[in-house]
Symmetry: C2
Subunit: 448 residues, 2 copies
C-alpha cells in the first residue's frame, strides 16, 4: 500500500505515480474532467482528456462526490497554473469509499453546525491551514527551549490541592479523595527549576470558567518556562526573544498557510525586539488618554471600547478592553510590568523599590488579541511567602512541599506561561480561539 | 543577574566567571576545601587553597550544608580528574540561601520517604539523569514524526462519552453533564488522519486502574501516530523505524546520563531493524515451550515466571509474565501481531485471511519491560464497524461522529500508541516506572 504524497510530487516530474486521497473539488469542460484531490499533504489537480483515456475513467470521474476517497495513477507534469504547481494526467482512477451528501458543502454554514461537524470541518482548507500553523507554533516553542538548554519536565494534571479556590477547577474522584485538573504547572515547575536550572512544561491546562468570550477555552495548551537565578528583567528578555522567534518561524515556514488565511504578513514581520516595556502605572496614564480620545470618537467601535474601558478601575487588573486599546495602538507586543500586587498571585515577588507593585509582566499582543503571556519573578523568601499565603487565606499545609523550595537553598527565579491557542489566534488572524485547536472545549461544547 | 552555566565552562577556560547553584557535596583536606556545586546543567568542583584565599572564603566553605544555594567566582581550569572536566579556583563565595537538614542525605532512604519528597528527590543525580533521558526520548519522538511530514494535532482530554465502560475512567462534572478524562486520542486521531493524512497526538492520558504494579501510572504520556492509507505491514514498518530511532538518539545524546545510571549500553546498541515479527499463534507455541522449560528450571525466578504464565489461557491477551518471557528471550523488541480479535478493541480490523484474528500489533520490549507499543489497522467498513459496536454492547449514538469517518470517504488506515514512561523505563534500565516522570501519579500517590 505505497502511494506518493502530493507534497512529494515535485520529485516525480515526468514519472508515473499513484496518489490516494479525497475529492476536494471537480470541474468539467466538454471533453476534459478536472478532479482535484487532497491527501492531507497538499492538493493536486488531476485531468482526464476524453480522446486519451479509457471511457471507464471518464465515467468514474462523473461519479465522484465531495470527499469520495480514491486513488489516481498518472504521469506528473509541472504546471504553474495548477494549485500546488503539479498536475497528474489520469491513467487510472479508482473509488475507494463513497461520500454521499457530505454535510459541509462550499456554501456558508453557521458556526454551530460547523462545530457539531468539527471532525469533518477539519478537512476544509482554512481549518487545515490554521492547524498547520498551530503545529509550527508548537514546534517553534519546543525548538526555542530545547536549543537553549532547557529541560522539558511535564508537570502533573491531577493535583490534590485546590490552592486558589475551587470555583474554576474541574474536580474528580481520585480513589476516594478529591483531585483537581491543573490550571498551571507553575508550582511544580519551580521545584523542577531548582533541580534542573532551566526548565519548561508544556501540556493541557483546564479552567472551568463560565465565560463565553472568543478568547476562552476550558481546555487549552500552555507552555511555561521557569529559570533559576533569573530576575524580572531576564524574564522580559526571554519572553521577548521567545515571541520574536515563534512569530519569525511561522512567517518563514507557513507562507502558504498564511496566504490561504489571507493574513497580512507585514503585521507579523514587524514583530522584532525590543518590545515596548511599560509599567502598569504608565499604562494607566496611556489608557486614560485613550479612554478620553475614544469617548469622543466618531467611530462607534472606539466609542464602545471607551465605554468598556470605563468599567475597569484604577488598581484593577487590565480588562479585555484595556488590552485591546493597548494592542491596537502598537505594531508589536507590549510588555506591561509591575501590576499592583493585590491583583496578582501570592507567589509573585513584590518590587523592593515599591512593594505595592509586583515584579510581574504580561505580554499584550497587538491587533486586539489581548494577553498572550503572563509571568514574573517569584517570591524567594520563606517568611514573606508564608505571610502572603496566610494573607490570601490559603491553607499553609497544602503548600508545605512548595515552601520546602525556600527552606532548602532558595534562589531568585522567574518564569512565564504562554497560551498556545491565543498565540495561534494572533498569528493566523483568526477571530475566535475555537478554530485554533482540533477539538475545542467550550462551556457549551464537549462533542465531538 | 548573569551567571555562567556549568555546562558552558568549556568556553571560559582561563577566564574568571561566576557560577550560581547549590552545594552538591564538599570535602576538606588540611588547607584545601573542595566545594562541589550543581546548577542543573552540570556539576563543578570549586577549590579554595588556604594560603591563596581570603580567610572569609574558607569560613564560608565550612558553613555550607547540602543544597545551600550559593554563587562562586573564580578562574576556570581544565582538569580531567574533576567531575565534568573543569574546576574553578574560588576567589569569592557567597551564600544565597541556607539549607538546614536537607531531608535527602546520601544515605539510603525508603521509597515512600523519597516519593513524599519527590520535589527534592529530583535534585539527586540519578533522578536528574533519568529525567534528562525522558527529555531526549520526547524530543526524539517529536523529531521523528515532524521530520517525516506528520502534523501534530492535539486530541482532547475532556470527552463526553465513556465509550468502553467507565470503570477505569476519571469522571468530572462539565457544566452539568458528565465528562471523562481521555485514555487515548485514537478515535480523534482518525478524524485528524482523514484531514491531514499523517498525524500524531502527544499528551497525558489517564487510567483509573486499581493496579499497583511497577509498570502502571494513573497519569502517563502517550504518543499516537495515525496514517491514512497505511496497512498493518506499514504500521509495523513505522513502529520499527520509530523505536530504532528513539533508542538510537538516546544512545547518541545521553551517554553521560546512561553512564550515571549504570546502563549497559550494548543492550540498546543492538536495537536495530528488522525486529522479529511473530504472530500471536506462533507466540503461543513459543510460550508453551518456555513454560515447560521454566517449570523444571533450577532458577527460582524462572520457576515463578512459569507459574505466572500458567495463569494465562490460550486465546487470552498476553499477560505480563508472557511478555516477560518474550522479552528475556530476545535482544531487541518483538512485534507480536494478529491477536484474537475477541481480546482487542472493536475498531480493530479483522484479518481477512483469518477473521478470528485482528490486524493488530504489540511491540514487546526486551529485558522484561513488557509492551511499549500497541496498535493496528482500523476497520474501515461502515457496516462491519456498526456490527462490532453493537456486538460489544456499546451505544451507537455515541459513535455517530466516528462513524461519519466511514460514511464520507473511508480509507484503510492504521496507527499505534507508545507510552513514554514505559519507553524511558526500558532505555534507562529503571526498575519502576514512577521514576520516569517528574511527579508520578499512582493509585496511592497524588502528592506532592
Amino acid at each position: 500500500m505505497k502511494y506518493t504524497y502530493i507534497s512529494d510530487l515535485k520529485d516525480h516530474v515526468g514519472k508515473e505515480v499513484t496518489i490516494a486521497g479525497w475529492l476536494y473539488n471537480k470541474r468539467s469542460s466538454g471533453k476534459v474532467r478536472f478532479v482535484i484531490v487532497r491527501d492531507g499533504t497538499g492538493i493536486c489537480q488531476t485531468t482526464a482528456f476524453k480522446p486519451e483515456v479509457d471511457p471507464a475513467v471518464f465515467e468514474t470521474c462523473d461519479k465522484l462526490d465531495q470527499e469520495t476517497s480514491l486513488k489516481v495513477t498518472g504521469v506528473v507534469r509541472k504546471d504553474d497554473r495548477a494549485p500546488g504547481g503539479y498536475e497528474l494526467s489520469i491513467k487510472e482512477i479508482t473509488i475507494l469509499g463513497e461520500s454521499k451528501d457530505f454535510p459541509i458543502s462550499p456554501k456558508e454554514h453557521g458556526v454551530a453546525f460547523l462545530m457539531e461537524n468539527r471532525h469533518l470541518w477539519l478537512r476544509s482548507i482554512k481549518q487545515h491551514a490554521t492547524l498547520r500553523v498551530r503545529h509550527q507554533v508548537i514546534k517553534a516553542v519546543r525548538d526555542f527551549f530545547d536549543n537553549r538548554g532547557f529541560t522539558l519536565l511535564d508537570t502533573p494534571i491531577l493535583t490534590a490541592n485546590a490552592c486558589e479556590g475551587t470555583t474554576t477547577l474541574f474536580e474528580t474522584d481520585y480513589f476516594g479523595q478529591k483531585a483537581y485538573l491543573s490550571q498551571s504547572g507553575q508550582l511544580y515547575n519551580e521545584a523542577n527549576a531548582m533541580a534542573f536550572g532551566k526548565v519548561y512544561c508544556f501540556g493541557p491546562t483546564f479552567r472551568a470558567e463560565k465565560s463565553k468570550t472568543r478568547r476562552h477555552l476550558t481546555e487549552f495548551w500552555m507552555v511555561e518556562p521557569e529559570v533559576a537565578f533569573m530576575d524580572l528583567e531576564g524574564n522580559m528578555d526571554l519572553a521577548e526573544e521567545f515571541v520574536e522567534y515563534v512569530v519569525g518561524q511561522v512567517v518563514e515556514k507557513c507562507r502558504n498557510e498564511l496566504k490561504i488565511l489571507e493574513r497580512d504578513i507585514t503585521k507579523l514581520e514587524c514583530v522584532k525586539r525590543p518590545f515596548p516595556r511599560i509599567s502598569y502605572a504608565e499604562t494607566q496614564k496611556f489608557l486614560q488618554t485613550k479612554k478620553e480620545e475614544y469617548a469622543s470618537s466618531a467611530d462607534p467601535e472606539l466609542k464602545k471600547l471607551s465605554e468598556d474601558m470605563l468599567k475597569n478601575g484604577l488598581g484593577d487588573d487590565l480588562g479585555a478592553a484595556d488590552e485591546t486599546a493597548i494592542g491596537i495602538n502598537h505594531d508589536r507586543p507590549v510588555m506591561v510590568h509591575r501590576y499592583p500586587s493585590a491583583v496578582k498571585a501570592f507567589y509573585m515577588k513584590n518590587d523592593p523599590q515599591n512593594p505595592e507593585y509586583a515584579l510581574c509582566v504580561d505580554v499584550i499582543a497587538p491587533e486586539g488579541v489581548g494577553e498572550i503571556i503572563g509571568g514574573g519573578q517569584r517570591e524567594e523568601s520563606l517568611e514573606v511567602l508564608e505571610g502572603k499565603i496566610k494573607h490570601h487565606g490559603l491553607p499553609l499545609e497544602a503548600f508545605k512541599w512548595y515552601l520546602d523550595l525556600r527552606r532548602y537553598g532558595t534562589v531568585p527565579h522567574s518564569g512565564f506561561g504562554m497560551g498556545i491557542e491565543r498565540m495561534v489566534t494572533w498569528v493566523t488572524g483568526t477571530h475566535h480561539v475555537r478554530e485554533t485547536i482540533p477539538f475545542p472545549r467550550l462551556m457549551d461544547t464537549i462533542w465531538p
